[in-house]
Symmetry: C2
Subunit: 339 residues, 2 copies
């Protein structure tokens, strides 16, 4: 593949002349322009996108910052965003960071260095401040979460997510309807100002509405979302609380680890312990029994994120906030409590 | 955040002057240089990396093209590569493509547009030709696979992988040692010129060495690596061949789907069917029973890939090829056949 220097040598003109032609500058003769463009074709020149970016100063790119790329929940969302960007005529610039890192500062760097038109943050914090997002420098969209614990003006950004609290309420309610009252909850932290805290509140509210007192010994915090921590915390729960009959896990992956812990403790799902979760990842279709879970509409979430952001970028609509609903994916982990 | 134009206006100099200062051109007075650099600091100027790339023409970046990013097997390898690049003073430019796409043409584009020094391909084809990789334009490394079915000169690239055939031989041999002879194999295709074909050959050789004739009814091709296809193919195997007592799966994820199929068919692992796989992903630690598998050294694979490639880039060593060994991760899916 040829460089700009090869084309210059081939045409016997200056490198700067080739550059002017390739960047559509007007001050080049028609003859020279034809000669250079024909050489670029013949030599299979692929433009350096750095040079192209610099010439245009603004590409039609949307940035996607994924926080916690190893999370299988994000895979179908990323695919849907990629596909939708393409459909809308935008290129997508994907940037993945570990779960603990700062998606806002990464996003700000990405917007400036790649001259992005807009930004989708996938899997971020729920508590952004106005000051911090003001550094972003482009319209942005929170995908799979929203600013529940922050102070952003709702007209200054968009979001697509489920209603964490309402969905957790529904999960706990389904267990209660099966006769359970000793219902444990498996989560990161009740004060994480994020998914766990929101879903914990839904769990608490469902118990309260059913007249079941909150039992702190059944609140299982794991400090992180790892399967290892979920496994160990469930083992401890079973040792400490042999009266537990049901478990609500805030994530499918943690529920899979909990099922393993229950089996290793010599107990059965759902005969001894019923389980329900929220997410709907592919892997939880293949547990035995199949995990009963409230499945998030992952592909739709990705499509909506692009649709809304592109409408904002194209000036067709203002920022907006969409709440999607989960679908109960029936499995075999939930059973009626036999008194 | 300020642009180069803001700095020019602030200092009352031309934009081209600011550009010359920021790109370390010599033809600027010391006074002007100081004024511009001080303004850049005061205005919190963040250099546009496109401009920076153009100025240097060559950054200290290694590209990583991941084919099939949704494969959980790659996650710990990507992390190790990222960490190792950082340790070695290189930045890593990550690019993910779907499993069916062409990592070589993507890699070539990436090398040219981002002026990469070297390239790591993670999860690619086993049959590159000399012609096709000649377009890459930078030293490259095949990570997790090698050029077994291609015609590359071994001195023209590096690789880190396991010996697929030898490891599959070992997996089948472990089942044979437990008394099994009706051993099915679950794979993509026996002619995929890739992982499945290599591991199939190891399986065949182990059977042959044990005097067990190859039984084509026990060779289960799935056309792809999806869990859905693995599940359906296993269901069909159990219907067609009630005499099967063991299964070797070329991948953990397919083995997990097979376990579900066996359970849904009313059979038990390992009482009715023993299972062994190759990979060692996190999820297969949480199946019931735990999957017995030959675990690949994923982190070491990533570290070695960077180490070898950086030595090549720094001129410290020639290209080389490293074969790593798996470790038997004992689980509960393999049992002795009781006659």
């Amino acid at each position: 593949m040829a460089t700009i220097k090869d084309i210059a040598a081939y045409c016997n003109v200056a490198v700067s002349t080739v550059s002017r032609v390739l960047n559509n500058h007007p001050d080049v003769s028609a003859d020279t322009r034809d000669k250079v463009l024909s050489a670029a074709r013949n030599l299979h020149y692929v433009p350096n996108s750095s040079a192209r970016d610099l010439a245009h100063q603004q590409t039609d790119s949307i940035g996607l910052v994924v926080r916690g790329a190893e999370n299988p929940f994000f895979t179908p969302i990323i695919r849907a965003i990629e596909r939708s960007c393409e459909d809308k005529g935008y290129s997508m610039s994907l940037h993945q960071i570990p779960a603990g890192e700062d998606e806002v500062s990464e996003g700000a760097k990405l917007v400036q260095s790649k001259r992005l038109k807009g930004l989708i943050l996938l899997g971020g914090r729920y508590d952004y401040t106005r000051e911090e997002v003001s550094t972003l420098g482009a319209p942005f969209m929170c995908c799979s979460y929203t600013n529940h614990f922050g102070n952003l003006d709702r007209t200054s950004f968009s979001s697509v997510s489920i209603n964490d609290k309402a969905e957790a309420y529904r999960a706990a309610e389904l267990l209660i309807e099966c006769g359970h009252s000793k219902i444990a909850v498996l989560l990161d932290s009740i004060h994480d100002r994020s998914i766990s805290e929101r879903r914990y509140r839904g769990y608490c509210e469902a118990l309260a509405d059913a007249g079941i007192p909150l039992d702190e010994g059944l609140v299982c915090e794991t400090v992180d979302f790892s399967m290892k921590a979920a496994y160990e915390r469930t083992i401890r729960l079973l040792e400490e609380r042999p009266d537990v009959t049901a478990l609500f896990s805030v994530a499918d992956s943690m529920a899979i680890a909990a099922m393993k812990a229950i089996s290793d403790a010599g107990l059965s799902v759902p005969q001894d312990i019923s389980i329900i979760a929220i997410d709907g990842i592919e892997m939880s279709l293949y547990t035995t029994p199949t995990l009963t879970t409230l499945a998030q509409p992952q592909a739709l979430m990705g499509e909506k994120a692009v649709e809304i952001l592109v409408d904002v970028l194209d000036g067709k609509a203002s920022h907006s906030h969409v709440r999607l609903e989960t679908t109960l994916r029936p499995g075999g982990t939930m059973g009626r409590l036999h008194p």
